[in-house]
């Protein structure tokens, strides 16, 4: 870090910190607010001025903090002549704008916000010009786009403001993104993202094959920001911003960022044919075109905006020439343009502020009403026209001089002629600004009676106008900064001299032609204007709007077409993708030779297969009758369970069949509310498509199974078989895996069930609290029903069967560790037993007599399982480590006690609780739907009449 480097951090940081203040200080009044906004700017300026002497001596101030070294991004800053020039411009004009805005903004405008945005923007601009790391520069670059978006859209209620802001953001944002690409390429060629390093690597960069892409991408950024043709159209629309913003962004700062960047990169990128033809040509075209359009703009600010476009073109062209003299001219013109253009914008703002119009056709004669404004405006405008003794003249002469000996594609005339034309047009619109606004007779139809504004408002432009004159008369005063900046741009050691009088050069003649021609054009303005209005020309805004609207419409049709909520299509795509990608993966390699001998198929198994296939096909073909489909599903479940038994998987059989039963119950309960038929609505084409997809999926999965079923592999389960008894204390290896080896899976699994229970309960409440409740109430399920609800026979049999089923559940639970069974199946068996009771005696009656909340059961189950796992900690073992022991209690024979059983108890409780909570929730909905409630265990108990006293017992 060089001496004074700390100041650089402060300069970069101050505006951002300061941005917080105005918003907070606005309560203290508008003037205080303005002051708080001015302080950081002023401080930054002071620091710059402190550093200035050293920089002017040719020193470069640097400062660096590491930020993201992995990327090559560091918070490093440097200040050379170019940076100093721009930084001073940014802070200096910033101060003036702060002052001006204090008076310009009306009482309704949120001033705090304004200054906040302004400072943010200023910080971003300062960052750009003092960044020593191009990634850092990119960050500030994007920040200028964002903050200018806020500034342009400041008057949110105006559609022009919003649209202008979005347009600016879109165009400059796009350029910025392109520039990211360019900068990353540049960095990788140079091997560093530090500007100081990159500036040393010019030769390497220009020689690289990636030079052209990088150049184009970076220029895209610069051109969009600096409103170069064909990206110039956003700038005039940005004029919807309050005039202080226009004066700042569109004269001094933001639009100059592109120019700055070209100047910054000049030593690295300039000097090639590509550079010359792209940059100089673009600049030239922009200069002429901008000037031409400016001439016919009736809106004062639009006129100035296009004039800015034109001048930016001029600067671009100069930088594009790639000569050192042109670079000097560019640097000098940057200063000059700043002074007169900012003054002009402020003048325009004053006129607008005073007359309530910016329409030139409604103005004229203001010379008498607003003499001060007139003087300021005229000086600035004449400088813009390039009238001698004003600073614009000098730099324009230098420009014409450079143009006069530039050869473009072999032609020595193209550039000089067009440059002169540009200058000529420039004279014309500048004079128009003076004559059509201030000269002529005083009118009596101004929207508002104008007079000169308060001093605070004209002070800033007056100061600038003074500068215009001072530099115009004594240009050598600017030599120091111009030299420093030009040396920074070119990397050479130049000592340019600035004179008012350049001698009789081609430039002088070109200048004379321009002034004379401009005057003539102004005289002919009326007919020309009429012709212009009639002439067909592309309206950039309309094109842009159409472009965006088209993009939006396209996006909309793409996204809405694709994400239209047609889940069947999503699923079809998902299936097709899975099959296709799976197949691609499969085709990428081969298979080993089959090793397994195939098992024979006994006839009964073949029958089972037929059952399964027929039932599946029938489900598919008959699914429109929903109840029938459920019956058919029953066959599938049955055959698969039997198949599991045959294939040595008794646990699977038990689980499959009991789960299936409960599932069918749930489906039946739900089907009660749903339509009983599925309409036949799929067109044949869709069915065909789905059929093909389904067959492909089936073939894929079946083929996969067929492929691996014939091949043996080593698996890890030998360990499980070997350690199940010794280490896990059980002989049912599957169960030991479930509660011990992979007990953690089971833990997750019961949690899934518990959540399902909770979820369904919550959903039931959401339904009953919502509008669906009313629909439910109005549903009529009564038609077509049998009259007996709780038949006597069923009730009686259940009285015996349910306890038996519970014993069976207990049995299955207790033996699970050693024989097929376990907590899960047991839970389902007991749940089915309870279900039997619910079916027999009805929900309300049964529910009244239940002993334990199902929520509690789920909670207990999950907690018990968890605590069993945690218990192992106290033995210094990991979660879910089991222990078991054999207990001998005479007269009972020896039995095993295992913590795994406690875990299984958790499983049991969760399963039972979850299933019951699900059924409970579904039944609650049915109760809500106006179902009646039974109060006795059966429809009619003939015994109750005989022995009434016993019938009421147990209530």
């Amino acid at each position: 870090m060089s001496a004074g480097g700390h100041f650089l951090f402060l300069i970069a940081l101050l505006p951002f910190v300061g941005a917080l203040l105005p918003g907070l200080m606005i309560r203290a009044g508008r003037t205080v607010c303005a002051w708080t906004a001015a302080v950081p700017t002023a401080l930054a300026l002071v620091m710059l001025l402190i550093l200035a002497p050293a920089v002017l001596r040719g020193e470069v101030i640097t400062a660096e903090i590491e930020w993201l070294p992995q990327l090559g991004l560091s918070a490093s800053f440097f200040l050379d002549g170019l940076g100093l020039l721009f930084a001073c411009m940014i802070t200096g004009v910033g101060l003036l704008i702060t002052l001006y805005a204090r008076f310009y903004l009306s009482g309704d405008d949120p001033m705090g916000q304004f200054y906040t945005y302004l400072l943010l923007f200023q910080g971003a601009m300062l960052g750009i010009v003092i960044s020593d790391n191009i990634l850092l520069l990119l960050i500030f670059w994007e920040l200028t786009s964002l903050s200018s978006f806020l500034l342009i859209g400041y008057w949110k209620h105006l559609p022009e403001g919003r649209q202008g802001a979005r347009m600016a953001l879109a165009v400059t944002g796009a350029g910025g993104l392109a520039m990211i690409g360019g900068m990353l390429i540049l960095g990788s060629i140079a091997g560093s993202y530090n500007l100081t390093d990159i500036l040393q690597a010019g030769d390497a960069i220009r020689a690289s094959e990636m030079y052209l892409p990088a150049l184009i991408l970076i220029l895209l950024g610069a051109f969009t920001k600096s409103a170069q043709f064909p990206f110039h159209f956003w700038l005039p629309h940005a004029m919807a911003a309050p005039t202080p913003v226009s004066a700042y962004l569109h004269s001094a700062t933001m639009v100059k960022a592109g120019v700055f960047l070209m100047a910054r990169m000049w030593p690295v990128l300039a000097g090639t044919d590509a550079w010359f033809y792209i940059v100089a040509t673009t600049g030239l075209v922009t200069m002429v075109l901008g000037a031409l359009i400016a001439l016919f703009k009736d809106d004062l600010k639009a006129l100035l905006a296009f004039s800015t476009v034109s001048h930016l073109g001029l600067l671009t062209m100069l930088l594009g020439f790639g000569t050192e003299a042109a670079a000097v001219a560019a640097v000098f013109h940057i200063i000059n343009h700043l002074t007169f253009k900012a003054a002009l914008f402020m003048t325009a703002g004053i006129v607008d502020h005073e007359t309530h119009t910016r329409d030139i056709k409604r103005l004229g004669g203001l010379r008498h009403l607003m003499p001060v404004t007139f003087v300021i405006g005229t000086i600035a405008a004449l400088s813009m026209a390039g009238i001698p003794l004003l600073n614009g003249f000098i730099s324009k002469e230098m420009m014409l001089e450079e143009a006069s000996h530039t050869v473009w594609a072999g032609s020595p005339y193209a550039v000089p002629v067009l440059a002169t034309l540009g200058a000529l047009l420039s004279v014309a619109y500048s004079l128009r600004f003076v004559f059509h606004v201030f000269m002529g007779p005083v009118r009596d139809d101004y929207p508002h009676k104008p007079h000169d504004p308060p001093f605070g408002m004209w002070a800033a432009p007056a100061l600038l106008a003074t500068l215009v004159v001072v530099i115009g008369v004594a240009p050598f005063l600017a030599e120091g900064i111009v030299t420093a900046a030009a040396n920074a741009v070119t990397g050479a050691d130049l000592h340019p001299h600035l004179y008012i009088w350049h001698g009789v050069t081609p430039a002088l003649f070109m200048s004379i032609i321009a002034v004379a021609g401009g005057a003539v054009l102004l005289l002919m303005h009326r007919p020309l204007d009429a012709a212009w209005i009639k002439a067909p020309r592309p309206e950039a805004k309309a094109i842009f709007d159409r472009l965006i609207a088209g993009a939006v419409a396209l996006s909309r049709s793409v996204t809405e077409g694709a994400h239209n909520g047609a889940i069947s299509r999503y699923l079809a795509i998902f299936t097709v993708a899975s099959v296709t990608l799976g197949y691609i993966a499969y085709r990428g390699s081969g298979l080993s030779a089959p090793t397994r001998e195939l098992l024979v198929v006994p006839p009964v198994i073949a029958v089972g297969w037929v059952m399964l296939i027929v039932a599946t096909v029938a489900v598919v073909t008959m699914h429109h009758n929903r109840f029938r489909a459920l019956v058919l599903i029953g066959i599938i479940g049955l055959s698969i369970s039997a198949g599991f038994v045959y294939l040595s998987a008794p646990d699977l059989a038990l689980t499959q069949i009991s789960v299936e039963t409960v599932t069918i119950m749930l489906l039946l309960l739900a089907l009660h509310f749903l339509p009983k038929e599925t309409p036949k609505e799929s067109p044949i084409g869709l069915k065909l498509r789905d059929g093909v997809i389904a067959l492909a999926a089936g073939a894929g999965v079946g083929g996969l199974a067929w492929a691996f079923l014939r091949r043996d592999i080593e698996t890890i389960s030998g360990y499980h078989i070997a350690n199940s008894y010794e280490g896990g204390g059980g002989t049912n290896v599957v169960n030991v895996i479930l509660v011990d080896f992979r007990g953690y899976d089971t833990y997750g699994e019961i949690i899934v069930l518990g959540i399902a229970g909770f979820l369904i309960y919550a959903l039931m409440h959401a339904l009953l609290d919502g509008p669906a409740a009313r629909r439910l109430k109005n549903m009529d399920y009564s038609q077509d029903r049998s009259r007996d609800r709780h038949p006597l026979m069923m009730v009686v049999v259940t009285r015996v069967l349910m306890p038996i089923a519970i014993v069976v559940g207990a049995y299955i639970f207790l033996r699970g560790h050693n024989q097929p069974g376990g907590g899960f199946v047991a839970g389902l068996v007991v749940a089915i037993a309870l279900l039997m009771q619910y079916m027999a005696s009805g929900f309300a009656w049964t529910q009244e007599r239940k002993r334990i909340e199902y929520h509690t059961m789920i909670g207990l189950g999950v907690v018990i399982a968890g605590l069993t796992g945690v218990g192992a900690w106290f033995a210094g073992q990991p979660f879910l480590t089991s222990a078991y022991t054999y207990v001998h209690l005479p007269p009972i024979e020896e039995f095993e006690l295992a913590t795994a059983m406690l875990f299984d108890l958790g499983v049991f409780l969760t399963v039972l609780g979850a299933v019951m909570l699900m059924l409970y929730s579904l039944s609650r909905i049915a109760r809500f739907a106006g179902e009646t409630v039974n109060e006795g265990p059966m429809d009619y108990d003939p015994g109750a009449n005989v022995a009434e006293e016993t019938a009421t017992e147990g209530r």
Partner: protein
């Protein structure tokens, strides 16, 4: 030594208690839920510290050696993901409580804790089947959260979400079956040991398994062409839930990263080519879809949802390269995009609940229009990857890491153009919501104006923005941690040794 299991056990024990003990007392439930989440955050920080030294910690559940039992594996990556989850969770939880979302239905806090359990479990496990189980845990909890408080649109969207994920889970099982059938093991480290021993010319089955697994993970990560579920889901979920879901897509990304690096990853002849064939182009298309969606959105919530989609594309484009550099860039972007998305949803919630719906049509300005506008633009800047928030750095890192000739053109174009379209889309939306509204007079007869947002309601969103800023400021140290993380991830031998060697610390 039991620290590793805590992120799973803690919420898993708390949730049922909240579910059955505190089901009728929202204050108690809130207290417990916040306390639990804070504790989770503390644990996550502890784990983060534990993993920072680069050791791979293995926790053998049931004291069974890998690959026969299930192990939890804590390395830098899983520690990071758990920490990310816990931080996000706390933010979202405070928002849900402050805005009262949690009281608009039953069992919010129980489901929330279960959700955390599932996510943490998925990040910590070292076993693919267990990964499936925890996927299911987090999914079923997410179903509950998704339809929390009910309502027609939400219910229909929830139904689609469930169906899509059930299809995904089915594919997961097909993939696991194929995997076990072709390798005989389920442990990620053991797979990494076994798969290289399969002759490359006989690897068809394991290749299918790898590919199907990738599709499964891609469904979660919302990658083209299995991304369709995301916009409808996120747009219709309660906003805080959508914010929490920001981590859910990352679970998919994490799984791809973990499994397809360690088990099938670079250097394994039979399977290494699979990842790139589809992942990379899919990520490109995903970015495009996300960007188009943002630009074309008619409603705010889908707009944000699409921006999440786009961010997943950007993330996956980095991960698809399967190089340590790109992975570490991707991880930075992952952390960033999680907070950015969450933040955006939280801000949107503040706005939408005070506005008649989330259509991007002009409505009179709400209370605190300026505050909301500022928050929205800040969050949008984060999401669109604009400076000064971390998204810009994330994007730069990703771009910088993708420089191979085959990828650079597509990747850069997609990321940069996607950003542009996204920016334009956000600008349009913000302009309509906050600017245009100022030109709309409030209707004469109006229901009482919605209440202003309390500081507590705004705090989580602001905290999210602060995190984005901090991520940017401390990008250097974070990146170097992430480089170490990626290096550790690509050190497959180290992982395998740590997991499969019996005497390593447990």
């Amino acid at each position: 030594m039991h620290w590793i299991i805590l992120p799973v056990v803690l919420p898993a024990m708390l949730a049922p208690l909240i579910g059955f003990v505190m089901r009728h007392d929202i204050v108690l439930a809130r207290t417990a839920s916040v306390a639990g989440t804070v504790a989770l955050l503390a644990v996550a920080l502890g784990l983060f510290g534990m993993a920072a030294d680069g050791a791979t910690h293995v926790y053998r559940l049931g004291d069974w050696p890998a690959p026969f039992g299930i192990v939890l594996v804590l390395d830098r990556l899983s520690a990071l993901m758990v920490l990310l989850t816990a931080t996000l969770a706390l933010m979202v939880l405070v928002h849900a409580i402050a805005t009262g979302w949690d009281a608009r239905g039953r069992h919010f806090h129980a489901l929330f804790q279960f959700q955390l359990m599932g996510i943490c479990g998925a990040f910590l496990t070292g076993d693919v089947f267990n990964l499936f189980v925890f996927f299911e845990v987090l999914l079923i909890a997410s179903y509950g959260l998704m339809i929390h408080s009910g309502g027609r649109d939400r219910m229909q969207a929830g139904l689609q979400y469930v169906v899509m994920n059930l299809a995904g889970s089915t594919l997961f099982l097909f993939a696991l079956g194929t995997l076990y059938a072709s390798t005989g093991t389920l442990n990620i480290a053991d797979l990494a040991r076994v798969i290289p021993t399969i002759p490359p010319e006989e690897a068809a089955l394991v290749r299918v398994a790898a590919m199907l697994l990738m599709i499964v993970f891609a469904v979660k990560a919302a990658l083209f062409p299995v991304q369709f579920w995301l916009p409808g889901t996120y747009a219709n979920a309660p906003a805080p839930v959508a914010a929490l879901f920001a981590i859910m897509t990352k679970v998919g990304a994490y799984a791809i990263l973990r499994v397809h690096t360690v088990s099938f990853g670079p250097g394994i002849e039979g399977t290494e080519d699979l990842a790139a064939t589809w992942l990379f182009p899919a990520a490109i298309v995903t970015i495009a879809i996300g960007a188009f969606g943002v630009l074309g959105a008619r409603r705010l919530m889908p707009l944000i949802a699409f921006s999440v989609l786009g961010s997943m594309g950007t993330l996956l484009i980095a991960l698809a390269a399967f190089t340590p550099e790109a992975t570490s860039a991707g991880l930075y972007y992952l952390v960033h995009s999680t907070f950015a998305a969450a933040c955006l949803f939280l801000v949107a919630d503040l706005v939408v609940t005070r506005r008649a719906g989330d259509t991007l049509a002009v409505r009179p300005p709400t209370v605190q229009n300026g505050l909301f506008a500022a928050l929205f633009f800040a969050a949008a800047i984060g999401m669109a990857g604009m400076p000064p928030l971390s998204g810009f750095l994330g994007k730069l890192l990703v771009l910088d890491a993708l420089r191979t000739p085959g990828t650079i053109g597509w990747a850069w174009t997609a990321v940069l153009a996607g950003s542009l379209v996204t920016i334009v889309g956000f600008a349009r939306a913000g302009s309509a919501l906050f600017w245009k509204s100022t030109a709309t007079p409030a209707p004469e007869t109006e229901a009482p104006a919605p209440a202003a947002a309390s500081p507590l309601e705004v705090a989580p969103a602001v905290a999210g923005l602060a995190v984005l800023a901090l991520l940017a400021v401390f990008a250097g140290p974070l990146s170097s941690y992430l480089q170490d993380t990626a290096a550790q991830l690509y050190d497959r031998a180290g992982y395998v040794t740590a997991v499969l060697t019996p005497e390593t610390e447990g």
